[in-house]
Symmetry: C2
Subunit: 496 residues, 2 copies
């Protein structure tokens, strides 16, 4: 079929452009000297424009629309690709190009402005841009689908099929069961023997331990690497080139270990996707939420388990003999699961983390609803922190200004973090029925776990959407109960 | 002027493509996992093809030819750019595209075949491909200019304006004066106290010392970085992003130090080019030879001087206390200038190095002349090694198969290595008349040297060709005498 062949050629070309830009992005985030930035912006702008032309060309539109007309005659995977291509194309074409360009410039400026505003704890400085970003996002959502609530359009952008209704149910469950439980834990008066965790840990040795951990967990070195960057992230172009980064802060050794394990979860997902999707639109993990379910599963369920450290604490002590004298497995296990009411989301522990997300979700929801203005954000933020975590930020830098997302126009992104963590609990609940997961961890055998995830989730890439995947793997739709139960069970044992 | 504006836009777009491909190349040479290779080849092939289309498009041809018609009305720099663009374009267009593609595939296969042949010391395995490469190169040279000797076309490709006549004069001088001098040095019976240089030097500490050295020599860290790779090289996209690599072999500490200083010479050249050339065809160093003159100047004239080590041996001893007990400045200086008849060009010392190049030049010359066949290469190679260096390779891996160049179709490249080194001596002769160079080195003050090179050579980028530059800087045309004199003076003092 001629159109299908043309479609493949178009997609391959788009992938080639995405690939080279992706490599430039990696270089930029991990090592390019600062002198490179200005010229890189100029030159990659040209390549981006070329790529944009391709993705919106008349020929590509004709191919996609042509195939869409007779979509039921195509095989399943091609159907899914064409739907995806059609959706992307419609979204791009519905937004007037001049507004798109204007918005792109606004985002560029806003991120730098946000950095400065955060540094100076000056919300007023950032406010005018934030107002414009919100206005653009609402307008774009309206262009894309004026029948839908704008926030629903945004939520669907980051997690296909998710709506306010569903997120409301999820966060209502957290509000009802988790908020009171967290208060109990915070008031338990439990004293931890964790002073060791705040000592100085040499960066080189942290690196040695991180390299050890990624090997332990089954990372394929022939198809990837571990490096450093300011903010940890996972990068991939296809399953044979998946890279993760971490960072080594001398006084926060747990930060490097769990950032490494977290990114490793993302990386294993990408490494285990079937290579047959490489040149299709079904490559890569299927959604933000499912991706986060993998990273959080490795980080929290496996990486913070007593069974993991029963095996690897010896190595940790070998690498850091001075800092870990007299540290017992019990001390260590409690220290890596320490619960604290804190201001900063990215440093929050497993238990309080979803409450940080809930604050953001609720704010985005009423902001996009027009119930509050940008002006009121700091106050609303602080009130919600008091309500859910019992603490009030002393300034906006540790409050409403802390995250980069809004300055990049990313509204509707935050809730996928909590959703993904909840998916992880639901997947884990199913996995546990099939075999003793923590027994495998204790035996330092990750093959069975990795294989299970590969065959149930990873290998499908984006060929199944999140809802479909959850239903097929766990036999039911998304249910926040597993997440709440998991947290309450784990932290009751640790704290109550 | 409309055409000039169009030309600028074309060039900028070409630069954007070159830039992203360049970053992919850097990634590939310094860290990409091996799993990345196959898919990278597929995807970069697509971007290369796009870039090729641009560089040969009818519109670009019209712009270049249009400007070429009235070239005398343009300003000097634009004239030079247009001549360059016209020359490049004519070269590409003269070669039939199917032959160009076939040749590209041949090169791809030949490099892998050469690696295998070298590993197995099997010249016969590589021979059929080498024959095809030679045939292609002769044919292409004929397409480009059938009035010229094919080897002259090739020589001009790597060093603008150079011909066999000129190279013959150069190598005749070396044959006449240097060959007998080298024999005297090799037979001097001088015993060096250099056992320390063969000890094991920890790679981390070698890295520390290399990082120290690039700082000492004035490398701009904001616009570059030092990294490791299998083969040391310098990489740049523009003066604010210049990177160099070295390698740390435990039992060859001098290799890392002098590879670092050598690449640093290339890197400083690129860092000091005027930024105004960034978006023109006059960016980058002006020729292979002039580039090599800078790397060899830093490596040999400065880096292997007694004055350099008078200042930095202490640091070296501090980094490697165990290996350097009882090593005196005199021992050290002699060790880094040790002369040996050896088989491998890249490991050759400063004095014997040009003889290795002479072997290659003479062979390429008679090969392209049809005086010998590919079949005879090993025998001819070995005979010349005996004639100039007094040693005969025991196998082809340490003989005719040692270099990658021919497998990549690079004929006419080798002589620029020796030519550049000779340029360095001629530049140095002029510099010395203006100030006491080694006194600056001893005082660890590289500002004056770097500034001199910047103002006389570096800042012009490719806006002056090598002959012009040499004449303007030194007041005379290329003269091999300075090189021969420099070597004889230096090594007489060290050995005789």
């Amino acid at each position: 079929m001629e159109l299908a062949k043309q479609f493949r050629e178009h997609v391959l070309k788009q992938k080639a452009y995405a690939y080279v830009m992706n490599v430039v992005g990696w270089d930029s985030a991990t090592e390019a000297p600062k002198g490179a930035f200005q010229r890189r912006a100029q030159l990659t702008g040209i390549i981006s424009a070329e790529s944009f032309k391709l993705r919106t060309s008349k020929e590509y539109q004709e191919v996609v629309n042509g195939l869409f007309e007779t979509i039921e005659t195509l095989d399943d995977e091609l159907q899914r690709e064409i739907k995806k291509a059609k959706k992307d194309l419609d979204q791009i074409l519905k937004i007037p190009q001049n507004e798109y360009v204007e918005y792109g410039q606004l985002v560029g400026l806003s991120q730098r402005l946000w950095e400065e505003a955060k540094e100076n704890d000056d919300f007023e400085m950032f406010k005018p841009n934030l107002e414009k970003l919100v206005a653009f996002q609402r307008k774009f959502a309206n262009y894309i689908d004026k029948e839908k609530h704008p926030y629903n359009v945004m939520l669907d952008n980051f997690e296909e099929g998710m709506t306010m209704d569903e997120y409301d149910k999820f966060f209502n469950a957290l509000r009802k069961d988790l908020v009171p439980f967290v208060k109990k834990v915070l008031n338990s008066g439990k004293v931890l023997n964790d002073a060791f965790s705040g000592l100085d840990y040499e960066q080189e040795n942290q690196k040695e331990f991180s390299e050890y951990v990624v090997d332990v967990l089954g990372f394929n070195r022939d198809g990837g690497l571990l490096k450093e960057s300011v903010h940890p992230f996972t990068w991939n172009t296809h399953p044979s080139d998946v890279r993760l980064t971490t960072r080594y802060l001398p006084d926060m050794v747990f930060s490097s270990i769990f950032a490494t394990i977290h990114e490793l979860g993302h990386a294993l997902y990408e490494q285990q996707i079937d290579e047959k999707f490489n040149n299709t639109l079904l490559n890569g993990g299927t959604s933000m939420g499912v991706h986060e379910s993998q990273s959080r599963f490795y980080e929290n369920v496996l990486g913070r388990s007593k069974e993991f450290w029963a095996t690897h604490l010896d190595k940790f002590k070998e690498v850091f003999p001075e800092q870990t004298k007299n540290v017992t497995l019990d001390d260590f296990h409690r220290a890596v699961n320490k619960v604290e009411a804190s201001f900063i989301r990215v440093e929050a522990d497993e238990l309080t983390y979803p409450l940080h997300i809930m604050v953001r979700y609720e704010i985005e929801r009423i902001l996009m609803n027009g119930e509050i203005t940008v002006d009121e954000l700091p106050k609303v933020w602080n009130n919600k922190m008091v309500e859910y975590l019992g603490i009030e930020p002393k300034n906006n830098a540790e409050g409403v200004l802390q995250d980069v997302h809004w300055s990049a126009g990313l509204f509707g992104y935050f809730p996928t973090y909590a959703l993904g963590t909840a998916y992880a609990a639901q997947f884990y609940n199913t996995m546990k029925k099939e075999f003793n997961v923590l027994e495998e961890v204790r035996n330092n055998n990750f093959d069975k776990i990795n294989e299970w995830l590969k065959n149930k989730i990873h290998k499908f890439g984006s060929s199944k959407d999140p809802k479909e995947l959850l239903l097929e793997v766990t036999g039911e739709e998304f249910n926040p109960k597993y997440y709440v139960d998991y947290l309450i069970e784990k932290y009751t044992e640790l704290y109550l």
